[in-house]
Amino acid sequence: MSAPTLYGLCAAVLIGFGVYGLIVNPQPLRKILAFNVVGSGVFLLFGAIARRGAGAGFGGDPVPQALLITGIVVAFSATALAIALLLRLHDEAGSVTLASDVPPAVPPAVAPDADAR
């Protein structure tokens, strides 16, 4: 098995773990971490593709590496935003569950004071 294939398979495993975590874990922090695991998998795959697609005596195709850096920056900002929201939610509501918020299609008689809060 060549190195790029091995890394590609590792990427697939990481993406699988991450998607599993995103779906199964109820805690938002774990979901954010799982998103980062998926992201790492995608970046690793891109790195493997860069290695495989290299030509003209290069050690790797430089275009994916440039895109990768951008991707990492985007994923980092996404994580930062999510964590900021999470902290704020913890301050406001005292808990960080995502599950209980479903406003039932029939809301519990929204009192006229809904805007007074």
């Binding site: 993406i15 998607v19 995103l22 779906i23 199964v24 109820p26 938002p28 979901k31 954010i32 998103f35 998926v38 992201g39 995608v42 795959l45 891109f46 593709i49 495989r52 697609g53 275009v63 994916p64 895109l67 951008t70 991707g71 985007v74 994923a75 900002s77 996404a78 935003l81 999510a82 929201l85 999470l86 704020r88 939610l89 406001e92 509501a93 995502l98 599950a99 918020d101 479903v102 406003p103 039932p104 299609a105 029939v106 809301p107 929204v110 006229p112 809904a114 805007d115 809060r117």
Partner: protein, 566 residues
């Protein structure tokens, strides 16, 4: 390919809103609003210039960044689809800007608050990111644009900072991130397979094989999650429940259009030959399910705001009906033409009408202090402009004469008849009837005679109400497209018996449905049972694990329809 004259306008369309954001951030406070309004005027001018330039050139406007042509460089391109969307979005932003001056203005003598400041900056950021989505010619730039759009859209959900809105924002962000990482994975696979991400180059190189199938399935699913198409809509209803009216208008009219537009780009421009008849049917089928389920759920809502949110979900379904209709079975590939034009027109009229509808609902909420449907009686007399706005935008969404959506429906029906897919004709007609049902329901409540004279908690700015009305009228005026780019034969005789019959059928059928489903407990027991079943189905699908598994299932189904049914 070279930079065309006026190509620099594309850069400005993206750059000017973001420069506005930065200036507003630095100058802060009440200056943010002034800068936002100035930027809106400038940006609208740029959108018009791009249109004029596009018409002069008679083809796509192109700008090569740094003079490097793809595959090494990155190109910005504005073709007909982009120009149409650029203009439509500019109009909606202008309307929302005028409306929001009432809610998010900072009169002199009043301390500036954080919510207005954030709102104006985010409005510009949404605009800049959308413009980037429309003019990017490269899948990775599109990924960045999509992420920017999400980052600008998420804080709009939680402008007031209450716990439940923060929770809705976090749900939205995490689900949208899952969607965009799937999109990125697809883009990476395409680069691995074909060595480029430029749309024009990819379209020439891509052909049906495993890597293209995997990429198409992953990217489509990711984008659907961001567009909130059934069954991937868990984030949308809570996001609208607590957002201010102007923010809801931005989210519903604009933000979901970004990822929808990307699906259009992907299917029509990047891989028209890769997608299959059955995958297009699957996409349309999800849309049809969205129309049916969410229209009924909308009728069961108690709050006006949530009714409109569910109507957005149903209308998103409507936007996906054009994909199966555009499929040319003989050639085995997607083919633009009438169906694509119809779909774009539908998107533009939805953007204008839905923004107007949310703003009218916002005025009603502010005036009454609540937006419970049962308490709306008498509001038509107190706020005639807002109720008129609701009615006009309702007509625009229903697709009856005279509106842009009417033309869109005609084009789509024509495409359905032309390609022999009669089942979509039924869906299109039923969609109109279902839309009219909740519009009729709200209007009937608003026009009812109040038990006691209603007292308004707050007087509503007439300018704000008129801005909403103007947007709703714009949606009707899209019918003028029949005078320009669209074939004139679409409206042969608006007063022909068949047209009148279809109008009566739509409104009458809607009235019947509103009567059956809108009252609770309903006078028809079956309606209660069906409505209850749909509402609980919606509740189940919106649970996180179910939505996650639906996401995998949708991806798998797309993969299967792309591979097996060839």
């Amino acid at each position: 390919m070279n930079t065309t004259p006026g190509g620099l306008l594309l850069v400005l369309a993206v750059l000017v809103p973001f420069v506005g954001v930065l200036c507003g951030l630095v100058l802060g406070g009440r200056n943010a609003q002034r800068i936002a309004l100035l930027t809106i005027v400038a940006g609208a001018g740029i959108a018009l210039c791009i249109t004029a330039n596009y018409l002069n050139l008679g083809g796509a406007v192109v700008y090569l960044l740094g003079g490097w042509s793809p595959p090494l460089g990155i190109a910005l391109r504005a073709d007909g689809l982009s120009v149409a969307m650029l203009v439509a979005i500019a109009v909606v932003i202008c309307g929302i800007g005028v409306y929001a001056c009432a809610d998010f203005g900072t009169p002199t003598g009043q301390r500036e608050a954080r919510a207005p400041f954030t709102f104006w900056l985010l409005l510009l950021a949404v605009w800049g990111s959308l413009n980037l989505v429309f003019v990017s010619g490269d899948l990775f730039t599109l990924y960045v644009a999509l992420e920017l759009l999400t980052f600008a859209g998420v804080p709009l959900v939680c402008l007031d900072g209450r716990g439940e809105t923060l929770r809705a924002a976090l749900r939205y962000l995490i689900f949208a991130l899952l969607g965009s990482v799937l999109y990125l994975l697809g883009a990476v696979l395409l680069y691995g397979g074909y060595g480029t991400l430029d749309i024009a180059l990819l379209a020439a190189r891509v052909h049906p094989e495993p890597v293209a199938w995997a990429a198409a399935a992953l990217m489509t699913t990711g984008l659907l999650a961001k567009t909130a198409l059934f069954p991937l809509h868990l984030w949308l209803p809570p996001a609208h429940a607590g957002a201010p009216a102007a923010a809801s208008a931005v989210l519903s009219a604009l933000v979901v259009k970004g990822s929808w537009f990307l699906v259009v780009r992907l299917w029509f421009d990047v891989m028209p030959g890769v997608v299959t008849f059955s995958s297009a049917q699957l996409l349309g089928g999800l849309g049809a399910a969205a129309i049916l389920i969410f229209s009924v759920v909308a009728l069961r809502q108690e709050r006006l705001k949530l009714l409109i949110a569910y109507s957005t979900l149903a209308q998103i379904g409507y936007l996906f009906l054009m994909f199966p209709l555009a499929f040319d079975v003989a050639a085995g590939q997607l083919d633009g033409g009438g169906a694509l034009a119809g779909g774009m027109l539908q998107a533009m009229s939805h953007a204008t009408a839905k923004a107007a509808m949310f703003m009218a609902a916002g005025s009603i909420y502010a005036a009454l202090g609540h937006d419970r449907l049962v308490g709306l009686a008498g509001i038509a007399r107190a706020l005639p402009i807002s109720v008129l706005t609701f009615g006009v935008s309702g007509i625009a969404l229903m697709g009856v004469l005279p509106s842009g959506a009417y033309l869109a429906k005609k084009l789509l029906l024509g495409a359905a008849a032309g390609s022999g897919q009669w089942w979509w004709e039924g869906v299109l007609q039923a969609g109109g009837v279902l839309t009219s049902s909740y519009v009729v329901l709200v209007l009937a409540r608003a026009l009812a005679r109040p038990g006691a004279p209603i007292q308004l908690k707050k007087s509503i700015s007439r300018v704000a109400q008129s801005a909403a009305l103007a947007l709703a009228v714009c949606s009707l005026l899209l019918a003028c497209a029949a005078l320009g780019p669209l074939p004139r034969t679409l409206i042969s005789n608006p007063l022909a018996p068949s047209e009148i019959a279809s109008l009566l059928l739509t409104v009458g059928g809607g009235g019947l449905l509103a009567f059956a489903f809108g009252t609770r407990p309903s006078r028809i027991a079956a309606a209660d049972a069906i409505g209850g079943a749909f509402v609980s189905a919606d509740g189940v699908v919106r649970r996180w694990p179910v939505a996650g598994i639906s996401l995998l299932l949708v991806a798998a189904l797309f993969g299967w329809t792309l591979v097996a049914a060839r």
